[in-house]
Every structure is written in structure tokens, then in C-alpha cells.
């Protein structure tokens, strides 16, 4: 029977939306070229990009905590002298 209906229209719009989105993504700013003689593999770069925030945060927390401990240690030693 005649198969056009909300289902069909919805699917067409979904395709159009996806294509538009993809086009927008493709034209968005990409990082500086990642090249080298070994295959960089996008998955690796994307994971790093996604995790960078968390890893940077953890790193800064650890450095901050290390500094706090150092100050405390110096303070403690000065007290003990």
C-alpha cells in the first residue's frame, strides 16, 4: 500500500539532520595535523581528547596535594628543630 506516513517522514528528517550535523562537524575546526610514520589511529587521539580534561584535573590535584605535603613537611621539620 501507499507507504508514506509519519514513520517515513521521520526517517527522512533523521537522515537530513544527520547529514547536516556531519557537514557541520566536518567543517568545524580540526586540530593541527597529526602525522607520523606510525599509524596514529583516530580512536587513540579521540580518547585522549575526551580524557584530557579528567587527566589534567587529576594531575593538577596530585601536584597540588604534593605541594601541600611538601609545605607541611617543611613546616614540621622547622618545628622540630
Amino acid at each position: 500500500m501507499f507507504r508514506s506516513g509519519p514513520d517515513e517522514i521521520g526517517r527522512s528528517w533523521a537522515i537530513v539532520a544527520r547529514l547536516t550535523f556531519a557537514f557541520l562537524l566536518a567543517s568545524a575546526l580540526a586540530p593541527a595535523s597529526v602525522y607520523g610514520y606510525i599509524d596514529p589511529l583516530s580512536g587513540s587521539a579521540i580518547l585522549q581528547a575526551l580524557a584530557a580534561g579528567v587527566l589534567a584535573g587529576l594531575f593538577m590535584l596530585r601536584s597540588y596535594w604534593q605541594r601541600v605535603k611538601d609545605v607541611f613537611r617543611r613546616f614540621w621539620h622547622r618545628d622540630a628543630e
Partner: protein, 459 residues
């Protein structure tokens, strides 16, 4: 070794290794000029060589170039013996990983970065791991992800995790996977509880899935590939470092773990054996020694103390691990413990069977030590005595070998659970088999069970 380009040196357009007049050189290609100069300008070369993390080199005149397009010719300080990650114990791979991390950390601090993190770029020199690929560095560009991240995870983190959480013998997978353990394979093999730890979860499990998911996606087309800040980079290194430091193996009680207690030597007999081996060593004065079935390296040490460079080879990973821990803690420089099964030693591997050399191809040694080994090969593994003699003669010029007759308790243990089909395993059979390949220079009885220690030279 023949002159010419090295079999395994072809993947990196920055340069390659070649041999000329018996000396090893590294040709630096014009395309690598900027990075090579930066290595010195940033002070990174000096820092790494001073810290013993990078192998130093001397620059040679360009007339020694192997082909056109050379920017520099380097003569690196030679490595005594080239070994491969599939021959390393857990501790060796772990230390190689930590050295790589340390190098990347220092490089970042000076505005450079490793463009590859292969375990094959690390060699052991005087007991410690060192980077041998001077052309591994590139200028760091802020925002770019670490290009060597995947390689680091496959070459170091994945095998170390598998060794620690599943079985130490999985390091052998390196023999099959020369670019490290594929992350999807590692992810599948690791126990489910590794999903609960941040390091393994991110760097192996999620990494594997991300690689699979974006395998067909060119990097430029994904907005997800946002810039990675320098702090993010440092955080990544710190995370990998922590994940590795948390790993360990339990040595357990493998067959040879209790060897020292049960090997059937009473104290005075052992002292006599040591003295005799020492005497033989002094007669031969070898520069290089391969101690086969070295166990924890007791006799390797005797040779190293006399100035030899020793390979302490054993088929039991726990023994090699103990041997290596001793080398590290005592700062020994003359011994390299390696995990090799003599009945199935490292073969020639890689493209054209020419990228990684077989064990025999990396010899021969001046002297081979085969103490308390023969009965394991001849009786434990059914290798005929003349076949053993033949193989040993390809590995070294001189030989110190111990023959234990069937009456010996160790041999009795091997015969206990099998039929005695070894008619020619007798003192006469031994001397006949070995006499074909070797000239017997000395032989002395040791111990009370009829063991005899021989000094031989290849004919």
C-alpha cells in the same frame, strides 16, 4: 655480521641503521633535520645521556653515508647483546616501561615528545634499560595528542597487565605480536575486575573500544578530536606511570623457585663445584659467557666477577625474575638475565624473517655454561646427546658442562614418572657424543652422586 642496511630498520623515514666495516651506524635523513637539531638545542640529548636514559653517539663525516639524502651520520655506542621483549621477565619489561615514561616526561618539559614508544627501542646496557632510538623524538606542538600513546599501551601497559593479572607467561605473546598486544585482545583476556581500576579501564578497555569505533574515521572529520593541552598530556603520562607502578607479579613457588633447596648438592659439594667452575673460567678467560639454565644466576656471577659479560638464560620466568631483581638491587653490570626455553629458543621473526634475529644468530659466545642442564634436555626432553652437543657447539667456542649419571637423585626424579628409554645416556655415551664436536680438556668428579664437570673446546 654482514655489512649493509639492518633487516629490521625500514619503517621510520627519519633514518635507519646500517653496518659498514663491522661498525653500526645510524643515518639521519634530511627530513628529520629540524627534530634532530631541536634534540640538541633544547638540551634534551645532554640531559638524557647524562642520566643514562638514552644511548650516546658520535657524529661521523657524511662521506660514510650509506645512501643519498643523509643529514647526519651517527655512530651510537654499541649494545653488548640485543634482546627482545619476549625474552624479558616482568621486571625487565616494567623497568623498560618506566624508562620510556621518564623519557617522555623529560622530553615534554623541554618541548619535545616521543613519536614512538616501542619496547624494541629499549635495550639493556650494563644491567639497566636504555633508549637506543635517537630518532624517536619530535618537536612538541601544543594541542596535539600523543601519537605514541597507542603503541605505549600495546607494548608496555597491556602485556604488563596481562602478566600481572592473568599469567606472567603471556609476555610471550610479543613473539607473535611484534607491535605489542592488540588492545582488543588484551581487553578480552583481562579479568572483569580490571574494569574497576581507572588506569586499565581508560588505557586498555576504553582505548580498545575507541580504536574499534573510530577505525574508519579520518582524524580531521571528527570534532571529537579536540586539542589536548600540555597539562592533559602530563596527566596522561602520570596516569600511565601510576598504572604501571601498581603492577607486580608474585613469584610463587614454581618448579625452580625451590631449586636452591632441592637440587641435591650438599654444602661442601657445592663449594667444590663453585671452585672448579671458577678454575675453569680462569683457564679460558672468556669475554662473553652464555649461562644456559642459569636459574638465579649463581654461576653467572662467578663469570661476571671475572670480567665476562654474561647472559643468564633460563626457561622459568620466576627464576629469571629473581635473577633480574638481584641484578638491579646489587647494581650488577655484567649480567643480563633472559627468559628463553632452550628446547624452543627465540626464532627469526618479522618481515622477511629478518627483523628480529634468532638466539643462535646473536651469538656465538666465547664460552657456554651448561651446569645441571644436560639431563633436562636429554631425559626431560628426549633430545639425543649428540644433538645437544651439536646445538651447544653452535652457541659458543668453549664449554663447561656437567654430566649427571642416572644414579643421581635429580636424574632419578626425571626418570621416576617415565620409562627409561635412554640407553645411551651413560658417561661413555656422553663422552662419545661430545667428543665428536669438542676436545675434552679437563674433567673432574664433583659431588657424591657421580657427577662430573667437563671443560671442552670446540674442534
Amino acid at each position: 655480521m654482514t655489512d649493509g642496511r639492518l633487516g629490521g630498520s625500514f619503517r621510520d623515514p627519519s633514518g635507519y641503521l646500517y653496518r659498514s666495516g663491522g661498525t653500526l651506524y645510524r643515518q639521519v635523513d634530511e627530513s628529520y633535520r629540524e627534530n634532530y637539531d631541536a634534540l640538541f638545542a633544547t638540551g634534551l640529548y645532554d640531559e638524557l645521556t647524562a642520566a643514562g636514559l638514552l644511548v650516546p653517539h658520535a657524529e661521523k663525516p657524511l662521506d660514510r653515508a650509506h645512501s643519498a639524502g643523509a643529514y647526519r651520520i651517527l655512530e651510537p655506542r654499541p649494545i653488548d647483546f640485543v634482546s627482545y621483549p619476549y625474552e624479558w621477565c616482568f621486571g625487565q619489561l616494567r623497568d623498560a616501561a618506566l624508562v620510556t615514561i621518564e623519557i617522555q616526561r623529560r622530553a615534554l618539559a623541554r618541548g619535545m615528545s616521543l613519536k614512538d614508544a616501542s619496547a624494541f627501542n629499549i635495550q639493556f646496557h650494563e644491567g639497566r634499560p636504555v633508549l637506543i632510538d635517537t630518532l624517536s623524538f619530535e618537536c612538541y606542538r601544543e594541542g596535539e595528542p600523543w601519537i605514541a600513546y597507542r603503541q605505549f599501551c600495546q607494548h608496555f601497559l597491556a602485556p604488563l597487565l596481562l602478566a600481572s593479572r592473568v599469567d606472567v607467561r603471556l609476555i610471550r605473546l610479543f613473539e607473535r605480536y611484534l607491535d605489542g598486544i592488540p588492545l582488543d585482545l588484551a581487553s578480552r583476556l583481562l579479568p572483569r575486575r580490571t574494569w574497576c581500576r581507572f588506569g586499565p579501564l581508560l588505557h586498555v578497555h576504553l582505548h580498545a573500544r575507541s580504536l574499534a569505533r573510530f577505525a574508519q574515521t579520518p582524524i580531521r572529520q571528527s570534532r571529537l578530536a579536540r586539542p589536548v593541552s600540555r597539562t592533559g598530556h602530563r596527566g596522561l603520562i602520570a596516569s600511565l606511570d601510576g598504572a604501571i607502578r601498581r603492577l607486580s607479579v608474585s613469584l610463587g613457588t614454581t618448579e625452580w623457585g625451590d631449586y636452591e633447596r632441592t637440587h641435591g648438592y650438599a654444602e661442601p659439594d657445592r663449594a667444590a663445584k663453585r671452585a672448579l667452575v671458577a678454575e675453569y673460567l680462569e683457564q679460558v678467560r672468556p669475554e662473553t659467557v652464555w649461562d644456559l639454565g642459569a636459574n638465579t644466576g649463581e654461576y653467572s656471577r662467578l663469570a661476571a666477577e671475572r670480567g665476562a659479560r654474561v647472559l643468564a638464560i633460563d626457561g622459568d620466568p620466576a627464576a629469571v625474575e629473581r635473577s633480574y631483581q638481584h641484578v638491579r638491587s646489587a647494581g650488577e653490570r655484567g649480567i643480563l638475565p633472559l627468559w628463553i626455553d632452550l628446547t624452543n629458543p627465540s626464532p627469526a621473526l618479522g618481515w622477511g624473517h629478518d627483523e628480529r634475529r634468532s638466539l643462535a644468530d646473536r651469538g656465538p659466545a666465547d664460552l657456554v655454561l651448561a651446569l645441571a642442564l644436560l639431563h633436562h634436555l636429554a631425559i626431560g626432553n628426549n633430545v639425543p646427546l649428540d644433538a645437544v652437543a651439536h646445538y651447544l657447539s653452535t652457541l659458543g667456542r668453549d664449554l663447561i658442562v656437567e654430566f649427571a649419571p642416572k644414579a643421581d637423585p635429580q636424574v632419578q626424579r626425571l626418570l621416576a614418572s617415565r620409562a627409561d628409554i635412554f640407553a645411551s645416556y651413560t658417561p661413555e655415551g656422553f663422552e662419545r657424543a661430545f667428543g665428536e664436536r669438542y676436545e675434552i680438556r679437563a674433567s673432574v668428579d664433583v659431588g657424591s652422586s657421580g657427577r662430573r664437570l667437563f671443560l671442552m673446546s670446540r674442534r
